[in-house]
């Protein structure tokens, strides 16, 4: 009894649903989508990320740097610059600037606090970056 009732209901709903048509969106529906797609594609080619210094420039820069260092280290190069006045190393010693720095003693707590704050600072950069990226993301 229950089964035949279910069957009848099933048939009835089938008939009811199939006697209607699907709902139609607006006439310009397809046109709107295609124009949105073209707009998006034009935009995405315009906003493609281009690094300020391209990979080839980085490569060239790296080679130049390495070559320069190699020349300085291995090449027979006279490093004394004739037109610079000779720096009196005695004079530097007299100032004792570096020595003065080593006299500063910070309490341990201050050092830990400083390290902690630095850590938070770096962590914050990561969070801020993620937050801003999600805010300006195109979806």
């Amino acid at each position: 009894m229950e089964d035949t009732n279910e069957k009848r209901l099933d048939d009835f709903v089938k008939k009811v649903v199939n006697s209607t048509s699907l709902e139609s969106p607006s006439i310009d529906f397809t046109k709107n989508i295609i124009s949105k797609i073209t707009a998006q594609e034009a935009q995405s080619t315009a906003t493609v990320y281009q690094p300020l210094i391209s990979k080839t420039s980085w490569l060239i820069l790296a080679t130049i740097t390495i070559l320069l260092f190699a020349y300085v280290i291995f090449g027979k190069l006279d490093l004394s610059i004739s037109w610079l006045p000779n720096i009196n190393s005695e004079f530097l010693n007299k100032i004792g600037f570096m020595d003065a720095l080593s006299q500063i003693h910070l309490p341990n707590t201050a050092v830990y606090a400083f390290i902690g704050i630095m850590l938070f600072f770096y962590v914050q950069i990561i969070f801020l970056k993620r937050h801003l990226e999600s805010r300006f993301a195109l979806n």
């Binding site: 209901l9 009811v16 649903v17 709902e23 989508i33 998006q40």
Partner: protein, 194 residues
């Protein structure tokens, strides 16, 4: 022309012919729009979400593996986009509360519907669908109109097939009850007119 498969057009789109996508849109826009409307109950919102669905599908097309049908993949996007839309807009869709334990008479309903003009009948059925909770309406549309299998609907809605069977069972009853109520209302109104 229309016999060409979805894959044919998908490959065309992936090959750079973005205009081929409009044929896919034309093929599925009615169903996608209907599904969105079933959930959102508002034509403007449904239009927006349907557009959004196709845009999303266009962007994600290269990720479409083809292990399910293109249509079910598209319906899934539409379904989830609609639900997301409701969630982000915190909108409560108004649907009537239906006591499905009440009895209804299929034969008399059937006769009453048959007695109506085609246009009027379609209007009453659409109204009933509108009053049905979104999930039920989507399920009934996919099952009876699109004749998808329970497994396919399960993929679209992300609900196990067994649960869907129970829901379909209840959804049908709700629809019948709503129809009966609306038909009675219609009758009272038409008495008033004569």
């Amino acid at each position: 022309m229309s016999q060409k498969t979805d894959e044919h057009y998908i490959n065309k789109v992936l090959g750079g012919e973005s205009n081929a996508f409009s044929l896919l849109v034309d093929r599925y826009k009615h169903m996608v729009f209907t599904l969105a409307l079933r959930i959102l109950k508002n034509r403007e919102d449904a239009e927006e979400i349907a557009q959004d669905t196709f845009l999303k599908a266009y962007i994600a097309l290269k990720n479409f593996k083809g292990d399910s049908r293109f249509s079910t993949w598209l319906y899934k996007i539409a379904y989830y986009r609609s639900l997301d839309y409701l969630k982000t807009n915190k909108r409560q869709v108004e649907t009537t509360f239906i006591d499905i334990s009440e009895e209804y008479n299929i034969t008399s309903m059937d006769n009453a519907l048959d007695g109506l003009e085609v246009k009027e009948r379609a209007g009453i059925i659409k109204q009933a669908m509108q009053e049905l909770p979104g999930d039920d309406a989507v399920l009934i549309t996919l099952y009876y109109f699109e004749t998808l299998s329970m497994n396919e609907i399960s993929k679209v809605m992300g609900i196990p097939a067994n649960t869907l069977k129970v829901r379909l069972f209840r959804g049908r009853k709700r629809l019948a009850k709503i129809l009966e109520n609306n038909l009675e209302f219609e009758n009272i109104q038409s008495y008033g007119r004569h």
